[in-house]
Symmetry: C2
Subunit: 228 residues, 2 copies
C-alpha cells in the first residue's frame, strides 16, 4: 500500500478550510496535533486555545486555517474517508469477479486500521479512533443541510455510492443496496465503539474486527457466496 500510494495527495473540498493546512508547516502541525489532542481529551473539550498551547502557536493563528473546530473535524473526517476510498479502489483494482470485489471492499471498510507510513504527519490509527468516537458529531448538527450543500460530506457519500454499486453488481435484483451499504460503513464504526465501551452487548472480542460478521451478513442477504 505504501508504495502504490506513495505520491498520493488527499484532496479535500476547499470550502472546509480557510487556508489549506497542507500548504504550510503550521497547517500540518495543526492537523497532526489536533488528531492527537482530540483523541486525548475528546472533541467536546477540545479547543483551539488548547491546541495552540500544544503546538506552541497562538489561538488566533489557528482560526486562519479553520473557521471553527467543527470544520476541523469535518476536515479530518474527509481526510479519513478519502484515504479509505483510495484503499478500497486499490484493493479491487484489476479484479473482475463482482463477488471477490465485494468481499475485498467489505474487508477494507470493516477491518482494524494499521499505520500507513505514506503520510508522516498523520497517525491513521489514532485518526480511526477519532472517527469511531467523533464522526457522528460532524453531521448531527443543526447546520447539517447547509454543510451538505457546501459539499462537506461528498467524499463520504461517494464511498457509500461505491459500495452500493458493488452490492448491486453482485446481485442485480437486491432491493436495498443503499441501506445495506450504509449498514456496513456506519455500522462498522458503531460495532467498534461498542467493543470498547459497551462490552456486555458487543459481539466482538477485544481485538476482533467486525469483518466476518459483515461478510456473513452481506453474502447471506444477497444469497450469494464469495467462494463459488
Amino acid at each position: 500500500m505504501q508504495k502504490l500510494l506513495s505520491n498520493l495527495k488527499i484532496t479535500i473540498n476547499e470550502n472546509i478550510f480557510l487556508k489549506d493546512p497542507e500548504s504550510s508547516d503550521l497547517g500540518k502541525r495543526i492537523v497532526e496535533n489536533s488528531i492527537l489532542l482530540i483523541d486525548e481529551i475528546g472533541f467536546d473539550d477540545f479547543t483551539f486555545k488548547k491546541l495552540g498551547a500544544k503546538i506552541g502557536s497562538n489561538e488566533s493563528s489557528l482560526y486562519r486555517y479553520f473557521e471553527n473546530k467543527h470544520n476541523l473535524l469535518v476536515y479530518l473526517a474527509s481526510w479519513y474517508w478519502s484515504w479509505t476510498e483510495y484503499q478500497l479502489v486499490f484493493a479491487i483494482n484489476n479484479i473482475a469477479d463482482p463477488l471477490k470485489k465485494l468481499d475485498l471492499a467489505i474487508e477494507v471498510l470493516t477491518k482494524t486500521t494499521t499505520l500507513d507510513s505514506t503520510f508522516k504527519h498523520i497517525d491513521e490509527v489514532v485518526l480511526k479512533r477519532i472517527i469511531i468516537h467523533e464522526y457522528s458529531k460532524s453531521y448531527l448538527t443543526k447546520q447539517v443541510d447547509l454543510d451538505n450543500d457546501e459539499g462537506y460530506f461528498s467524499i463520504y457519500k461517494r464511498l457509500v455510492i461505491r459500495l452500493k454499486e458493488l452490492i448491486q453488481e453482485a446481485n442485480k435484483d437486491y432491493k436495498y443496496a443503499f441501506c445495506l451499504a450504509n449498514t456496513v460503513i456506519e455500522g462498522s464504526l458503531h460495532q467498534q465503539y461498542l467493543k470498547d465501551h459497551f462490552k456486555s452487548i458487543s459481539g466482538l472480542k477485544p481485538n476482533e474486527a467486525p469483518t466476518e460478521f459483515y461478510k456473513d451478513l452481506v453474502f447471506n442477504t444477497l444469497n450469494i457466496s464469495p467462494n463459488e
Copy 2:
C-alpha cells in the same frame, strides 16, 4: 397499546436525576418542554437558561432536577428506550413461534413512531426525532465508561439483549447475534437520519421506514423465513 399500558409508569435509574421530574409539576414541564426545545434548536445550542425562559422558570431551579444538560439527554433517552421496551414486550406477549416473535420485534424497533396518548406530557413523535438526531451524543463522550458504571445505559443494553435472545431463539447456530441486534437497533435510527438529511445515499423514500430492509436482512442472514 394505550389501553394495555394505561397504568404504566416508566421507571428511570435514579442516578440520572437529582430530583425525580415525575414528582412535580415543574419536573414534568422540564421534560415536556426540553423535548420540544431540543427538537427546535438542537441539543448543542440547548441551555437550561433558554429552557427556563420557555417554561417561565429559573435556570437555577432546573439544576435541582438535573446536574447538567447531558444528564437530561440521558434521561430522555432512557425514557424512550424504556417505552420502546414495553412496546416490544407487549407485541410479542403470548406468541409462541420464535420467527413470528422476531418478526414483530423488528417491526416495533424499526417502524415510524406514532403518538401514544398514554403520557400526556410527552410527545413521542418529537422524542423519537430527538433520539434519531441526538442519541449518539449521550454516549459519545469522554465519561462514557463512568456513566455506564452508574447504569445510565442499562435500559438500552437490556433492549439489545432482548433482541439478541430473540435472534438466538430463531436460529441457535447463528454466531453473530449481538452484532446483528445492534445493527437493527442502532442502524434503524441511522437509516432514518439519512432519509431526512442524506437523501442521495438513503435507500428510503420520504415516508418509508426501514422495516422491510431489516426484516429481509435478518431473515436472510439467519436463513429462515417468518412465513413458514
